[in-house]
């Protein structure tokens, strides 16, 4: 596993690979290529957002351009609808619970693995690492039966607990590597002063662990916010659906009215896009570095 403390933050702008200036011709070629790729990324997104402002008839004739008459009602009808806010809050509740438990349980277990010697510790770490090797889908039917037997079908917990369980491997891995790389002098000093493990965890380890808490938190939040298969299996009532399930239902209901579906998609991905632009540095670094190190 990579040493987290020596790993560089990912920051493209400050790291030219070559000391030479780029020739003008090369520069033009680069910009043209980058702009073409950027267009392929952005055009579907913008067309989706603009499509939500059109009528179905206009969508047929003019899928790319600006709408001739902006149909604000497509959007406002969704924004004032209960279902949109219900789905958003369902997603948010599930994601926050998932993040909280993934962080708490993961950090606690990882602390034991990083600092305490006990019989079977290495085996136990490897046991958790098994969880990194296969997706939740492989055991989804027995998982459904287990959740049903626990009486958690159609509850938030029925989604949260499996998500936390399948996130445990990642969380423990990242936390353990980080804890082990904290300077060992801290540890020695604390124990000379008679500090126990519990106080060490609360007063020294956790306050020093903000970066890794952010990384694990971002990974598990994004995973939960976007998750589809676990809620799909565990939830029955539409009133508890998170938004990815909501999109599918909405599309099923309004399958003949693409403009409404497009407005709905736009509004549901809007929080993600806003959050991404606000916290892009942390999100990109968290998702990339986190994936590499676990």
């Amino acid at each position: 596993m990579t040493d987290i403390s020596t790993a560089q933050p990912i920051d493209a702008a400050s790291a030219p690979t070559s000391g030479q200036r780029i020739r003008a011709g090369t520069q033009v070629y680069m910009y043209v290529s980058l702009i073409i790729v950027a267009a392929i990324v952005v055009v579907p997104l913008i067309s989706t957002a603009l499509g939500g402002f059109k009528t179905l008839g206009e969508l047929r004739g003019n899928p790319f351009g600006l709408p001739t008459e902006w149909q604000w009602s497509n959007y406002t009808d969704i924004i004032v609808s209960k279902r949109y806010w219900l789905q958003m809050s369902n997603s948010l509740i599930i994601a926050l619970l998932t993040v909280f438990l993934t962080l708490t349980f993961g950090a606690m277990a990882a602390f034991c693995f990083a600092h305490i010697r006990f019989f079977g510790a290495d085996y136990l770490v490897n046991y958790f690492l098994i969880g990194l090797m296969f997706p939740a889908a492989t055991a989804i039917l027995p998982l459904y039966i287990r959740i049903r037997d626990l009486g958690l079908i159609d509850t938030y917990w029925g989604v949260v607990l499996p998500q936390v369980a399948f996130g445990m491997g990642m969380s423990i891995m990242l936390f353990r590597n980080y804890f082990r790389n904290l300077p060992s002098e801290l540890f020695d000093a604390a124990f000379v002063d008679g500090c126990g493990y519990m106080r060490f965890f609360w007063h020294i380890t956790l306050p020093l662990s903000r970066p890794i808490i952010a990384t694990v938190g971002i990974i598990s939040f994004v995973g939960s916010w976007n998750s589809y298969i676990v809620p799909l299996i565990m939830l029955n009532s539409e009133s508890r659906y998170p938004w990815p399930l909501g999109i599918m239902i909405y599309r099923g209901e309004f399958s003949t009215e693409w403009q409404l579906v497009l407005a709905f998609i736009t509004l549901t991905i809007l929080p993600t896009i806003i959050a991404f632009f606000l916290a892009q540095k942390h999100i990109i670094a968290g998702l990339t570095a986190g994936a590499v190190k676990s």
Partner: protein, 308 residues
């Protein structure tokens, strides 16, 4: 375990006191800190996987307890099912697309963004954006793009004055349309891996190449590329793992159709096991998927990522 826990005190007294305080606070912490993770992980990850292996030998609808033992029949049915064969082929195609399209594309973009170019941060941001969107949303957006009546493909066809194609409804072409979406969604992530890989390269090696009069392309082929080996292997590894999990994106695009031409292993599990509540059959598919995942993860790490 780390050496941190071993005290190296100056005097015997300090060391003894410290040891006692450590030993005293060790067990409460273990008893308090380990069980939540251990319990949750065992009950909801390990046991279900074991149960999948058990259920896979039964014909069971999920109610009561499994009684109808069928031996290896579920497994025989899986490998005789042409939709499953198609799913295996499709999973392979996704890995292939990643190798032949995604990795070169990501590497190419990463070298451009890592060079001294204005707006690099902006492009990096745009390219990474699809990766943070939910697969379901990306799938739905591209269902609109590919729509021959209302979507962007329809618009382009109008401009060119040709009949619009319906790629997602064409059993020979649908999977390639999906491959396009997979690349669109994930190239930004792989590009970030390469950007990180490029940063880790020692600049003095490239400067040495400059002094020796190497051209840009020579530097790339003879210096940068060989040094990026571990990143390429990592990128391919993520593509393989991602391909084996692909489900969310397929559902809004095609749901596995038309006539099973775009099934992946997970959509196959869902369409044939979950929706029909065929717990035995679905569990057997899960076990096959598990064996493939673990074998690939182990052997790939052993063979290709040994030195990374």
């Amino acid at each position: 375990m780390s050496a941190n826990a071993v005290p190296s005190g100056n005097t015997l007294a300090v060391s003894r006191r410290r040891k006692r305080s450590l030993a005293n606070s060790k067990w409460p912490v273990l008893i308090l800190f380990l069980p939540p993770a251990l319990l949750l992980f065992t009950v909801l990850v390990i046991l279900p996987m074991g149960e999948a292996a058990w259920y896979s030998f039964y014909n069971w609808n999920g109610y009561g307890s499994p009684t109808q033992w069928v031996g290896w029949r579920n497994y025989q049915l899986i490998f005789r099912n042409s939709a499953f064969t198609q799913a295996l082929i499709n999973n392979g195609l996704i890995v292939l697309a990643s190798l032949c399209v995604q990795v070169p594309l990501a590497l190419w973009l990463a070298t451009m963004i890592s060079s001294r170019i204005k707006g690099a941060l902006f492009f990096r941001l745009i390219f990474f954006l699809p990766y943070v969107l939910a697969d379901v949303a990306a799938g739905m957006i591209w269902r609109f793009v590919y729509d021959g009546d209302f979507g962007l493909v329809a618009g382009i066809s109008q401009m060119l004055g040709v009949e619009p194609p319906f790629w997602l409804a064409d059993r020979d072409l649908a999977i390639y349309a999906i491959l396009g979406v997979v690349v669109w969604k994930y190239f930004g992530f792989h590009m970030m891996l390469f950007i990180a890989g490029l940063q880790a390269i020692d600049k003095s090696v490239l400067e040495a190449a400059d002094i020796d009069g190497a051209t840009g392309f020579q530097k790339f082929r003879l210096v940068t590329l060989p040094l990026l080996g571990s990143t390429v292997r990592l990128s391919v590894f993520f593509a393989v793992v991602g391909s084996l999990q692909l489900f969310d994106m397929i559902m809004p695009l095609t749901g596995g159709g038309p006539s099973n031409s775009t099934q992946t292993m997970v959509t196959f599990l869902y369409n044939f096991g979950v929706t029909r509540m065929q717990v035995g059959f679905g569990s057997a598919v899960g076990v096959v998927l598990f064996v493939i995942c673990v074998t690939l993860a182990f052997s790939y790490k052993r063979v290709f990522m040994r030195n990374d």
